[in-house]
Amino acid sequence: MNAARRPAMASFGFAGFVPLIACFVMVIFMMLPLGTGAANIAMPNLALISVFYWLSSRPILMPYGACAVLGFLLDLWLDVPMGLNMILLLLTRLFVLNQLKHYKGRSRLVHWVIFAVLSLGLYLLSWLLISLVYGTMLPPEPLALQWVITVFSYAPVGFVLGRLRRAAM
């Protein structure tokens, strides 16, 4: 009975928490002053890349609760409206769980393209939501730039996460 109540992550031991820890580290990395100022835009959305990667490879280890907590911390630490990143990461999980059957086992290039399309939709949504909260249409250029950087960063970050996955699981 108790075992049935335990989260799936716990049944894998420490390895079960690797995705969550990796995503948490990515959240912290997004706050580092790598160049400062410009880095606000030039910093890829490492948390989104990491959550998508783990959901595509080990969805059971990245439950809704974990996505919500990561989103909450991102909102709190990046000082963006609360709920924004929570919604984005939860939608990412919803999307992956519904579409994974179509691209599971396909090449990395396919994963990359799917990530690009998904993140474009999420960035558009975040632009609309943030404009709604601020009560003014924000210039879309910085967001478009960050989307491009995030998409191009998917391959190297995915490579690092892949090495971590092979080493830990």
Binding site: I28, F29, M30, M31, L32, P33, L34, G35, T36, G37, A38, A39, N40, I41, M43, N45, A68, G71, D75, L76, W77, L78, D79, V80, P81, M82, G83, L84, M86, I87, L90, S126, L129, I130, L132, V133, Y134, T136, L138, P139, E141, P142, L143, L145, Q146
Partner: protein
């Protein structure tokens, strides 16, 4: 998902998470950021050193010349300062010097593509207060918007919510330097007919009481009709150490008599 939508709705109606909770949340992550930034700073410093080795001789020559010039300026400045002090004393005008509350390092960035803010390693334990102006060695950087115990968040001049009352140094005309969430600021509400030139400097006017007067803010880089773009003088692209000024915002009605309308200074 419902919780997330509810939180966003609260932000929309303006009753989101209080600033203080966000500020204390930053205190929790600050020690991790401090540890992680060490190797990054070391790598950045190493790369800058490697890049600088090739022109070190030329730079040395330039610095010697500059040093000679600065010595002369220093003498002149000290003489003027003494004279200024004496005159202020005679006229009973209070001094304008603002002491620093804290000098600290930028330990984190925030906002993603939506906001231009940085996290600094000084908080209420260092006498940092909400609204305090923040400067670096070249100009105004922004102002403190959240104060935790050991960290504070600084809203940069480039943020879309940033508005700084400024004065055109050459003519004394008043205007507002507005952030656009991009690297350049926009100059707005300048009186009609004022001729602005590329290269003109803008200083804080002191109006509104948020910033002390005469701090360097930005330089004009582009003028197309009424669309005037400014480049911040503070090195917002590579902030390292910043100074939080121990300046208490003053109500406007107290400042108004001291700062007459533009063009008279």
């Amino acid at each position: 998902m419902l919780v997330a939508i509810a939180l966003l709705a609260f932000e929309w109606i303006g009753s989101g998470v209080p600033h203080q909770i966000r500020a204390y949340a930053n205190d929790f992550v600050a020690p991790v950021l401090r540890v992680l930034e060490q190797p990054i700073r070391a790598v950045q410093a190493g790369l800058e050193r490697i890049a600088g080795v090739s022109d070190i001789y030329l730079e040395n020559e330039t610095l010697r010349d500059e040093n000679d010039r600065l010595r002369q300026w220093r003498e002149a400045a000290m003489q003027l300062s003494r004279e200024n002090e004496r005159l202020r004393g005679m006229l009973k005008v209070p001094g304008r010097e603002v002491p620093p509350a804290a000098t600290t390092r930028v330990i984190g960035v925030g906002g993603g593509a939506f906001e231009r803010s940085v996290l600094i390693g000084a908080g209420s334990s260092d006498d940092v207060k909400r609204g305090s102006p923040v400067v670096d060695e070249t100009g105004v950087v922004g102002r403190v918007i959240q104060v935790g115990r050991w960290t504070s968040r600084v809203l940069l001049l480039t943020d879309i919510n940033s508005r700084v009352p400024v004065r055109l140094e050459r003519t004394g005309d008043l205007a507002i330097a507005e952030g656009q969430n991009e690297s350049l600021l926009r100059l707005r509400f300048l009186p009609q007919g004022v001729q602005v030139k590329v290269g003109d400097r803008l200083l804080t006017s002191g109006h509104g009481g948020a910033f002390p007067p005469d701090l360097p803010v930005a330089r004009v880089v582009d003028v197309v009709d009424d669309f005037i773009l400014l480049e911040p003088l503070g090195l917002l692209g590579k902030l390292d150490y910043v100074r939080v000024m121990a300046y208490q915002p003053v109500p406007e009605e107290v400042i108004q008599p001291e700062a007459p309308a533009g063009g008279e200074e």
